[in-house]
Symmetry: D2
Subunit: 136 residues, 4 copies
């Protein structure tokens, strides 16, 4: 089974990802881009994407990117996220790239963009650690 | 309007929080505890609470705790979360406590617990910065 | 060799810790407190302890606390630090406590205090991950 | 006074930076690179650069990069650092780049490299927030 199929199978088996409608936009050995269409029920009180939705998408992208180098059985050990701009737009993308990987953990960077018909803007950036499951 | 009413009003105006069914468990000048009942559509592929759900609840608790000292018009600037244990149980609680606050930002700690009928266990811990909105 | 002797031996073998004069203030199974006397050559441009000195002491305390549960052969995988107050005083203490430990990693919290003859104040707080060396 | 002179003046007025011998390698509107020659008294017990030295250099580079967009009177509010590789070599460089800046805070990324005569390797990466001093 190729990398995309593995990632798609894991994503399909996450009820929370199905609730939010996350899709795999692109995937490679170096990283992954996850995307979701922002619905009204994903917003906060000012009409922006809720930080929890952005965190979710980044967390998931971090894990999947780590899984690309460590194997499918991984989890996010930790991450740090900085929000840089309120996210108002049609779609949200989280683009994760592996910075370094060892035998049992990978350090992954992820940027989240808010996308409209004619623009895309950075709304958050994150740095996290993914570990092989038996290693925690 | 007292502190609980302010927080409840903001929470009620967050569509994403309504989607997940978040409630205010308790609130004081020092912090806040948010809670949600884990539904099947909040899980990941192994039957645990999705990290994104835990992140969401922590993010929201951090913001609300910061708002308790800085005023209602705040947002989460950034946070770091460490997952320490898979979260399997009935309810999820995020307990946020303000460690330090200045005029324009507060540093807040938040622990997330997974709760069953007869136990509660730490599943994640976080540290974040909340800022007054005009200050970013 | 008991816990204190192990920690003292490691500390003595760190040239950078000898340069700064770090001492072990106290140690237990749950954590460790490291301390240093602030010298003029540890300050920044406004006369406060340089953030790098605080970071160093926290980083070291995190590692030593993790070593207390994982064994002496550990390293700091990552940490996040929030500075909450400029540090002006005689001594700096970093108090690290293990929040959770598994077979191969520990999550550790550390608070740094600036201490004078009659007061102590929180100047920074941190959250980090310590890993066994063969596991990275 | 131009940007380099401002930065050099601040660096010269930091006793801890003089102790470690930090120099400005390059500077621009987008960021800064700080460098130091690793001396024996900057190592840890295994002969690598002490994490505290790497943290110091990253912390300082984050602050200086933030100062480039926010003005000289800034401080590091917080940062997260992930160590990816033991640092053994002649020189250490911290390269900081501003990702986003508002009126009162900037989000800055910083990578640290260990450099020998014929190679350079990433040894740590960080993400932090710099704030204007009156704003904390």
């Amino acid at each position: 089974m190729d990398m995309l199929n593995v990632a798609q199978t894991v994503l399909d088996s996450q009820p929370f990802s199905r609730l939010l409608g996350t899709v795999i936009h692109s995937i490679s050995a170096e990283g992954i881009t996850l995307e979701l269409v922002l619905r009204n029920d994903m917003l906060q009180q000012n009409g922006f994407a809720h930080g929890g939705v952005i965190s979710y998408l980044i967390d998931n992208a971090l894990t999947f990117a780590g899984g690309g180098v460590l194997g499918a059985n991984v989890l996010t050990s930790e991450y740090k996220i900085s929000y840089v701009r309120p996210a108002k737009g049609e779609r949200l993308q989280a683009r994760a790239v592996v910075l370094h990987s060892g035998k049992r953990q990978a350090v992954v960077r992820c940027d989240a963009f808010i996308i409209t018909a004619d623009s895309e803007k950075l709304c958050a950036t994150a740095l996290g650690t993914i570990v092989s499951v038996p290693d925690v």
